[in-house]
Amino acid sequence: MFNLLRKLACSIEWQILYARCKDCNGIKLFDNDKDFSALQLSFLSFLEMYNNVYLDIATGEELMDDKRIQDPMLVDAYLVYKKEEKKNKDKKETSQNNTGIPTLICRRRRQ
């Protein structure tokens, strides 16, 4: 079931519909516009996920292309890789920002 849901979310038809929905309020993905079912919520998160991957392809991402995006295992691997890369980058930035200078100096008062 979830592989089919992903296939549908990855399709150009649904991606176009999803992009249009984000742009203008008049287009609806489902009959209901609130109180979404679990299946609808899962589908929405897959739509968003594939939307981001398509965006990465459009901006020249080397590790992903139109063929690889059709393979759920390659997409999962790519997302894990990207997450790990971001984690490492954040860690590096935090350590670079650490100058070692204390922001508050506490001295014990002499009696």
């Binding site: 849901l5 209901n32 679990a38 299946l39 589908f43 894990v80 790990e84």
Partner: protein
């Protein structure tokens, strides 16, 4: 390019048709937050529970919880884990194994993400599938072992109660409950309940709820 036999082409085409049908059915399920289906000329539907129904379910669950606590035939999850431990079945170890396998899968995924050669991709995918299969085996085993505890019993009971409340049939222009009481629902053995349970699970439970 490899020549395909007639049988192979027929097989692939019929597989594609089956998948297309499934995709169409899935699009139908996605259309709304209720699912309608027909059986022997009667229109049925399952829907999401209302706030009042969720409250009723919560009350029923509490009642059932107290009943199970008083019943000596049922024990809590932690007690069951301790009993298994004495019989050399370690649930905590199983959880650790599931976590360790996940880390191993992640390592292969990191390699797969940068792999370009098709041969390497196939090998890595095979490794990941193998590990996922082992991991799923442990998850299923753990879930089976714990299915006898009060907590699991309570989840099953609560899910069944939701299906009973939200399973309706069309009576002229009105939607009415299919079963007049929960007992009637539990005692009914028709396949229509299996269908209602399946559709209801699509409406209410997300992927992470299954694991």
């Amino acid at each position: 390019m490899e020549d395909k036999s007639k049988e192979q082409i027929i097989k692939e085409t019929s597989q594609k048709l089956i998948e297309l049908n499934k995709l169409e059915e899935l699009e139908h399920l996605l259309k709304n937050n209720t699912i309608e289906f027909e059986e022997e000329g009667i229109t049925y539907r399952v829907r999401k529970p209302t706030y009042a129904e969720r409250q009723e379910n919560s009350k029923e669950r509490s009642k059932r919880y107290l009943q199970l606590l008083k019943d000596d035939n049922y024990i809590l999850r932690d007690q069951l884990i301790q009993i298994y431990k004495k019989r050399d079945i370690n649930i905590e170890d199983m959880e650790k194994q599931i976590g360790a396998l996940q880390s191993e899968i992640k390592q292969f995924q990191l390699k797969l993400a940068v792999a370009k050669d098709q041969k390497d991709i196939d090998i890595l995918k095979e490794e990941i599938n193998k590990l996922m299969e082992i991991q799923m085996g442990i998850i299923v085993k753990k879930s089976d072992l714990l299915s006898m505890c009060i907590e699991s019993n309570l989840i099953d009971y609560s899910n069944q109660y939701i299906v009973y409340m939200t399973f309706e049939k069309k009576d002229e222009d009105k939607w009415v409950r299919v079963f007049n009481s929960f007992e009637e629902f539990l005692n009914n053995e028709s396949s229509i309940i299996d269908k209602a349970v399946y559709y209801s699970s699509q409406l209410i439970f997300r992927r992470e709820d299954y694991v």
